[in-house]
Symmetry: C2
């Protein structure tokens, strides 16, 4: 078979796989937004069937032969940065990921984690770690086995990290987090010595329907295309993409907390702008979505924080919000609003953390994951270790394990290696912002005028359009001219909160 | 392989097929309700991929061998009415339907009808039949070819009818329609000689959100389970089922026509009650949904008309509606409301037809379809034949072909044999109603008290729970003790409209 024909067949299979995957995403979206309560059992079956058929198709001998054939006949003649060469290399990477793990292990792990999720919910509800402990012990054992399917490695955590942040190494994350640990807890300490910022006005009653219309107007103004996407409500906000022309995100609305819809909405909008910004020619191929969890999170955090918690942004948007909620906000100035949205306060719960504390929640989890996997820490000792680190990094001690070690779903699903990407996203957001400012000049000037197209255009050109074609660290390099750094984010935090808290 | 193992594998494939089919239904539901406009291209690809994979799986050699094996080893030992025996026979029926049609024909027909649909829309917009004519000519040719894949047959229309109403024959439909033609046009004629009923109050402004809440309350009261289903908005109302525990229907709301949501809502609720009423043990198997278009339509029409256009129903529900819209309905009595909802008026458009004219629209189409397929009528002469029959049966002549021969999508999709099921549903609705009254006594007494559980319970016991296990005509026999009849419906019409119009 000549190479173009092989390539056509290869792509046809990839399109088919993508249709299965995105069909499953539609089912998942519906499950979180509109599905009636008793639909869940059939829905689980439908999603499982699509996943199984996708797995069978992707790991089929035909796919293996097509990749091998294209490596032998295509790669020698193609430009290594061409779409074709990159596609073959990317699919080889995914193919090896899937095929190196024995089917028996996958089945056993899937069974273990579905049981563990149920038990974890129960354990969290009762704040009883011991219920969950035997499951977590088996999960840690199986995760170690998983990593060993990818031996040799420099660090046992490397193959896990790689699942969420392709190419990233444990040593690199360690170095970055070391830098964060040197500067961020100290900043937090200094803030806590200063008078607190008032945000009581955010907790008045805000009509849910008006909140929904407000965020819809704001994201449409910024550049989210409602002809190619939509916004719905769900318990846990998320973003999902069925194609570059159908990208959806959800919001959660709290009647007595306006910051929920603003921060959550702009966060998910950031993910969604990235997905809408991928070059349409990549739609349906493995290039057709954002590159990694870390880079994706850099975009949600950039729009949520660098944009959506900036003084310049609210100089433009506060009057809009004030007109929607005149009663609640008549006595509030743009500066009050800005400061209220940037109140710093250590909490037990990661997902409620502010910019100054978020990374510390992550570093704690990263260190514990590594200690568990390298046997430096036993699962039985995990709650104590958790609480110790909370005290050391954040200065607080959880009242129970529900607000401590049991708070996140990740470990019950076996998702070791996931957490660091949240902090990498934070670091990258400020680094990318700095690079954008080098090119565009004062970004505040745009935001104060409500002009977001220059920012969005720059991100699209440098990052979004490439989708998943390049490696995450190549994207960082292409966008910023550097490898990933911690200092831009730490500089940003110190400048911003130094000003707000008068340090 | 012993028979239980063969049966297990057979069922596993059927469950897998059902997951693919229902996943596709979720995608279709989303497309009509929430999908952003530009999502349509990817959505078509996703649905096409699921359909293709389902077709490949169902027509695979393995499926053929499993059926054959179960016919050889299972059928001789099983009770012919057992679930097992019925399942094998039903799947054999579908398997032969699919495998007797050559892949080339399917592909060519799919291409022709997708083009034809686009051209039909254009032709209807311009009221220009000649645009559509060459496509319809090719469609008629190909439909004839299709029928011949199922030769020998008594009538060329039989294999087409069978696609929508399994086991129904052209001769049987002809006899039923003959009876309708004897009585229904005469009733219409007599009604038109009488003073018209006033329904102007239905065309006041009715707040859409309140309409939506009203219909939701009404159907929940009647017995639609909102824990196992939901109601959304769409341009064309429809019902869809993803499992017996997730059945959804849509409504269309017109600000200036309250009857739209009432009749459309109760119609779709009828379909949905049927789907929710299937025995849960059949969920995921080919038994797990309603039995045929005609029987299905009998339930939508029964709830829409026999229930939802009855005096007794509005004796209970009019006060509810009046409380929701006090301004609009303060001067209206339950009797006014009942009469307004039953106004008879011949129109050009089938989907706007009332009870007295609906069947006549169908008989016209049935006769034209047969004439085209048997070459008694040429496509070129179709518009003239259409208008002649409209004059003869309904006494009106369409002003142009958009309001005449071009009004329905069915022929552009190649759906010959579909139309009769609408009228069969009408006939069956009254026949089933009569049988229910024989068992339960005066049904009006229940409705006047707002008690629908006895009616729903009877239908569930006699019809719904069986799903698709039996043949449509067996279901009719089991529910009513008779074969399908025209007279119960004609008696119902004459009594009801004789009273309303004082004949």
């Amino acid at each position: 078979m000549e190479v173009t024909k092989t390539l056509d067949r290869f792509k046809a299979l990839l399109y088919q796989l993508n249709d299965l995957r995105t069909a499953s995403s539609v089912l998942g979206w519906d499950q979180e937004t509109y599905m009636p309560p008793k639909g869940v059992e059939a829905r689980s079956r439908q999603i499982a069937t699509l996943a199984r058929m996708g797995h069978e198709l992707f790991t089929s001998p035909e796919m293996g032969e097509l990749i091998q054939n294209l490596e032998d006949t295509g790669l020698p003649q193609w430009d290594p940065d061409s779409d074709e060469a990159r596609l073959v290399r990317l699919v080889r990477y995914y193919y090896d990921k899937q095929t190196k793990v024995p089917g028996d292990w996958v089945q056993a792990f899937s069974k273990l984690t579905s049981e563990a999720r149920v038990v974890w919910r129960e354990a969290r509800a009762r704040a009883d770690f011991n219920l969950f402990r035997p499951y977590l012990e088996r999960i840690v054992d199986m995760v170690r086995e998983y990593a060993n399917f990818f031996a040799p490695y420099v660090h046992i955590y490397d193959p896990l990290l790689d699942n969420y942040e392709r190419g990233m190494k444990t040593a690199q994350v360690r170095a970055l987090f070391q830098r964060v640990r040197e500067r961020q807890p100290r900043l937090l300490q200094r803030i806590l010595e200063r008078p607190q910022v008032d945000n009581a006005f955010l907790h008045r009653y805000y009509d849910p329907q008006k909140q929904r219309e407000l965020i819809q107007r704001m994201v449409a103004h910024i550049g989210f295309d409602l002809e190619r996407g939509r916004i719905d409500l769900s318990t846990h906000p998320f973003t999902t993409s069925f194609s570059v022309n159908d990208v959806r995100f959800t919001i959660r609305i709290k009647e007595n907390d306006l910051s929920e819809v603003l921060s959550g909405g702009l966060h998910e909008m950031g993910h969604a702008l990235y997905e809408q910004g991928v070059d349409p020619k990549y739609d349906g191929l493995p290039f057709g979505h954002g590159v990694s969890l870390g880079v994706h999170e850099s975009q949600s955090r950039l729009w949520e924080n660098l944009v959506g918690r900036s003084r310049a942004f609210w100089a433009y948007f506060f009057p809009v919000v004030q007109r929607v909620f005149p009663e609640n906000l008549k006595d509030i100035t743009p500066e009050d609003f800005y400061r209220g949205l940037n109140r710093v306060e250590p909490s037990f719960i990661r997902v409620e953390a502010d910019e100054v504390t978020y990374n510390l929640h992550i570093i704690l989890r990263f260190e514990l994951e590594i200690a568990l996997l390298t046997d430096e820490l036993q699962v039985a000792d995990l709650p104590a270790a958790w609480n110790e680190k909370m005290k050391a990094y954040l200065g607080v001690t959880p009242p129970d394990d529900a607000k401590g070690v049991l708070q996140d779903i990740h470990w019950s699903q076996g998702s070791f290696g996931y957490f660091p990407t949240y902090a990498l996203g934070n670091l990258l957001s400020a680094q990318i912002w700095r690079a954008m400012a080098r090119d565009l000049g004062n970004l505040d000037d745009f935001m104060r005028k409500g002009e977001f197209q220059p920012l969005l255009g720059w991100l699209q050109e440098r990052i979004y359009r490439h989708g998943n074609k390049f490696e995450p660290q190549e994207i960082v390099q292409m966008a910023t001219g550097e490898t990933i750094q911690a200092d831009p984010y730490l500089d940003y935090l110190e400048a911003k909160y130094g000003d707000i808290y008068g340090l």
